[in-house]
Symmetry: C2
C-alpha cells in the first residue's frame, strides 16, 4: 500500500444562503488552489464529489467548470458520513497506484434531501434525527447520570471554539444558561444541543508520497483508517449509550496507525448533537465509559481546544456532504500549524470521526504530520 498525503485544503463559509451546489463546490476549490502551490489542473487525475444533493454527474460538471479532465470522476454518498467515505475512496485510488493526485470536494445546501431519514420506515413519524439523539440522551442520562448541564457544556465549548473559525456558521458565544434555556425540542434535547443544517463546502487534495514532496514541505499523512456499517435502521441499536460502529472503526484505525488514544493531540468528532460528543469521547477511548461529560467539561474549563477546535458541527454548522471534509481540513491545518487563533500547541497526531444516521455507520481517520 502506497503512502498517501494530504497537501491542500479549501473551505467556503458555512451559511444559510440559497446558492447552487455547483457554486458551493467552486468556492472551496478556488480556496484550495489559492492555498496550494505547485499543482496545476492537468495534475489532477481523480475528482470525487461528496454530497446528498440530488444532482447527477456532479463530479464531471465540477471538473468541466474548473477546467479539470480527470481519469476517475464520480460522486460518493453515504449521508453525513459521505465526506470521510469519499476521502477513503480517494485514499484507495492513490494507495493502490491507480492515481497520484485526487481532489475531493464535499458540499451541501441548507435544504439537502439527506436531512430527513425517509429510509427507516421503522421510525414511523420520527424521521428527524432529533428523535434518535433524544433517545441516546435519555439512555445516557439514565445509565451514567449525565445532566442537561453536561450537554450544555459541550455546546458552549464548541460555540466558543467556533468564534475563532472564520468559516463557521455561528459567530457568537452562548453561555451555559442560554443553552439550557433554549427551546425544548424534545424532553431532553434543546435547540442549542443540535447542529444546524446549512450551506457550505470543503475541499482536500490527496497525493502519493512522490508527488507530496514536490508540492509541500509539510504533508499530512493518513496513517489510520477504520470504517464500519452496522445497519441503516436505528431499531437495531440495542444499547443506546454507545456507538458500536465508532468503536469498531476506531479500533481498526488505531491498529492500522499503531497509535493509542492517548497519542491523539487534536480531534474533530461528529457532534451532530451534544450527546454525540459525550458518547464519542468514550467510544474513541479518550474517556472511560460514562465519563465523557467530565472530559468535555475539563476541556471547557481549561479552555483546551483539543476536541473540535473549529467548533465541530454544533459551532460550525452541518452541511452534510461537506462535514467530513471540513473536519479533515481542520486537522490538516492544525497539524501544519496553520490554524491561527484555533491552533492547538504541538499537535502532531490528529483524529477525525465522521458518522451517519444515529451512528449506524462511522469512519475514523488518523492523520500525522
Amino acid at each position: 500500500m502506497r503512502k498517501v498525503a494530504l497537501v491542500g485544503t479549501g473551505l467556503a463559509k458555512f451559511t444559510k444562503d440559497d446558492v447552487s451546489i455547483e457554486s458551493l463546490m467552486l468556492l472551496a476549490i478556488k480556496s484550495l488552489f489559492e492555498n496550494t502551490q505547485n499543482v496545476t489542473q492537468k495534475d489532477i487525475d481523480v475528482v470525487l464529489t461528496s454530497t446528498s444533493d440530488n444532482s447527477k454527474y456532479l463530479s464531471s460538471i465540477i471538473s468541466e467548470l474548473t477546467g479539470l479532465t480527470p481519469k476517475i470522476s464520480h460522486s460518493v454518498e453515504s449521508l453525513c458520513n459521505s465526506g470521510a467515505n469519499s476521502t477513503v475512496s480517494a485514499f484507495a485510488y492513490v494507495a493502490s497506484g491507480l492515481a497520484d493526485v485526487a481532489l475531493v470536494i464535499g458540499a451541501e445546501r441548507f435544504d439537502s434531501p439527506g436531512l430527513v431519514l425517509e429510509w427507516d420506515k421503522s421510525r414511523g413519524q420520527y424521521k428527524h434525527p432529533i428523535y434518535w439523539s433524544s433517545m441516546f440522551t435519555k439512555a445516557h442520562m439514565r445509565k451514567y447520570g449525565t445532566t442537561k448541564e453536561d450537554l450544555a457544556i459541550v455546546s458552549a465549548k464548541n460555540h466558543k471554539n467556533a468564534t475563532a473559525n472564520p468559516y463557521a456558521y455561528f459567530e457568537k458565544e452562548y453561555s451555559i444558561d442560554e443553552i439550557m434555556q433554549s427551546k425544548n425540542l424534545t424532553e431532553d434535547v434543546r435547540l442549542l444541543d443540535c447542529s444546524l443544517p446549512c450551506s457550505g463546502s470543503a475541499a482536500i487534495l490527496l497525493v502519493s508520497e512522490e508527488i507530496a514532496k514536490k508540492i509541500t514541505d509539510c504533508p499530512i499523512w493518513i496513517t489510520g483508517i477504520g470504517q464500519k456499517t452496522i445497519s441503516a435502521g436505528f431499531t437495531k441499536n440495542t444499547d443506546l449509550t454507545t456507538m458500536k460502529s465508532t468503536i469498531d472503526a476506531a479500533t481498526d484505525a488505531y491498529k492500522m496507525s499503531n497509535i493509542q488514544p492517548t497519542d491523539i493531540d487534536v480531534a474533530e468528532i461528529h457532534d451532530a448533537f451534544t450527546i454525540c460528543e459525550i458518547i464519542e469521547l468514550e467510544d474513541l477511548r479518550f474517556a472511560k465509559k460514562g465519563k465523557g461529560s467530565n472530559y468535555a467539561r475539563n476541556c471547557y474549563e481549561t479552555q483546551d481546544r483539543k476536541i473540535n477546535p473549529r467548533g465541530g458541527l454544533i459551532g460550525s454548522g452541518h452541511p452534510l456532504g461537506a462535514t467530513g471534509i471540513a473536519q479533515i481540513v481542520e486537522i490538516v491545518q492544525q497539524l501544519q500549524e496553520k490554524a491561527g487563533k484555533r491552533q492547538v500547541q504541538d499537535a502532531k497526531v490528529g483524529l477525525v470521526q465522521n458518522m451517519s444516521a444515529a451512528a449506524t455507520s462511522s469512519t475514523v481517520l488518523i492523520l500525522q504530520s
Copy 2:
C-alpha cells in the same frame, strides 16, 4: 498493487416493472449468492451501490436488508457510467489492501432521474440523449458515408443476441426492415436505434488473490483499467465522429494490461444508440476509423457474437446504474465459459466499455481468465 479477481455474478431480469430500487438490488444479490460458493455474509467488507436513483444511504440500507455489516459502504454516481466507476472503486479498495471482499450492486428504475440531462444548460430544450445521438449520427454519416442500414444492422445484431439472454428486456428479433421502418424520433435516429430505459439490477463480487483461490477455480482477473472525463457538457465536443474519452480510457486500459485490441475475444460496449457501437468499434481500435459499420455488419452476417453477446444496451435494456455491472457480469460469464447459448468459443480476454452522457466520460476494463 494487489491483484483483484471477479468471482461472483448476479442479475435480475430487466423489465418495465414499478419496483423499488431496494427490491431490485436484493434480486441481483440473491442471484449472486446462489451462484457463488464459499462466501458468507461476514466475509463482505465493502458494499458499494451504483445508481442515479435519489435514494440516500442506499448501501447501508442494502447491507442491513441482506445481513451485511461491511467496513466500507457508500453509493457511487456518474450517470450511465456509474457501474464501471463503482467497480473501479471496489478494485481500488481491494488492490490497495484496505479490503479483501467487495460486493458491488448496480440498479435503476425505469423512471430514473438520471435519464434527462438537466445539468447541461447549453443544450437548451434538447436535454434528452436522443439529440446528441442524432448529432453523432449525422456527423458520422457525412464524414464516413454511414447509412441508415448500417445503423439498423447494429440493432438487428444486438436484438438477435439478446434473444439468448434470459435477463434481457427485449425477447424477440427485429428484421433490418422493421428497424428501418420504426418510428423516426429525429431525422436520422429511429426508435429501434435506441436503448430503452428500464428497471434492472446486476451484482458482482471482487476479491483479493488470496481469497479468490478459496472461492472459485475460475477467477476472472481485472488486468486493465482506463478512465477519462473530458467534460460534462456536450458542447465541448469538437469532433462528433469520435469519442475522445473512450480513446483515452482504452489507451490506458490496453497499456495497463499489456493487451492489443486484436487480443480481445469478447466485448460488451456501450451501445446507448446504434451510432455509439459503430464509433466505439473504431475508437476501441477493433476497426479502422470509418469502418465500424463494416465490422458490425460482418459480425451480423457471420453470426459472430463477439461484440455485445448479451445484446448490449439495445437488446438488454438500459437501467443506468446497473448497465456497467451487467456488462461485466456478461464478460465474466463468457470468460468462465458459463454463457450458455451466448457462449463465444475460447474466450480468454474480454473488454468492457461503459460511458456517460455523449461519451463525456468513459471507462474501459480488460478482464482475463
